[in-house]
């Protein structure tokens, strides 16, 4: 599958993935915006999601940290985007930005997933968080095989 391209968005480093999915946009929209479905594949469990632009998302990492995000775009079934804030409220130049676009493609749709990164110079904590997340994922994969 797609390896993910390194791109820059407004000069910030970002990763972009494109995938063809053999499901309708409506169905994929549900999978990416419904808290239960989203929790199933997103790295953090979603405990709350106000489905509108300006709405709040609460993520629980299962280790005592609650992450909040603000939805910046909510255009069903086309565009879903949010800014993920620093969990400790530390000031930083930018939030992480995640963006999911859905386009009709053949009988299914094309998903374009973009993760615009926090400034790397202050990303140490974030990096550790993701590493822990990866470890958890590997464990999960090992136990489901």
């Amino acid at each position: 599958m797609s390896a993910g391209n390194t791109i820059t968005l407004d000069g910030r480093p970002a990763l972009q993935f494109e995938r063809h999915l053999k499901h309708s946009r409506e169905k994929v929209w549900l999978a990416v915006t419904d808290p239960e479905h989203l929790s199933h594949w997103y790295p953090l469990r979603v405990t709350e999601l106000e489905p509108r632009a300006g709405g709040r998302i609460m993520f629980d990492d299962g280790e005592g940290t609650i992450y909040t995000a603000t939805i910046t775009r909510f255009d069903p079934p086309r565009l879903f985007a949010f800014d993920e804030h620093d969990p400790e409220g530390r000031e930083r130049e930018y939030d992480d930005h995640l963006r999911i676009e859905l386009h009709d493609e053949g009988a299914g749709c094309r998903l374009v997933f973009t993760h615009v990164m926090t400034d790397p110079s202050i990303a140490d904590g974030v990096f550790k968080g993701w590493t822990a997340c990866l470890d958890a994922l590997v464990t999960q994969l090992d136990t489901t095989e």
Binding site: S2, T6, L15, A31, R52, L111, M117
Partner: protein, 114 residues
Amino acid sequence: MSLSFDALADPTRRRILGLLLGRPRLVGEIAHELEMSQPRVSKHLRVLRDAGLVTVRPEAQRRWYELRAEPLADLDAWLAPYRRLWAERLDLLEQRLETMPDVLEEEPRQAKEQ
């Protein structure tokens, strides 16, 4: 590595790198593109050179500023775990979609703000 990231932390310097991504440029061109004074651009170019992100190639009376890709490989390495993470997470999304019932196009989940 941290030196490159400090150099990259400034939005103007990221814009300069963006310009140099296309092709080598003269300081005057960069100043024109960014609508900034030449001395200010030179100052930013100095930081980028110190960080090893930019080199200068003299040619007759002109000095071409070029992007140097090696430090950017650090950035790429920094992104590698994310790349793996999301590739795997998107696999999970596909698996989830397989188990979900198809939704009718007539009734997409609507949650518009009034």
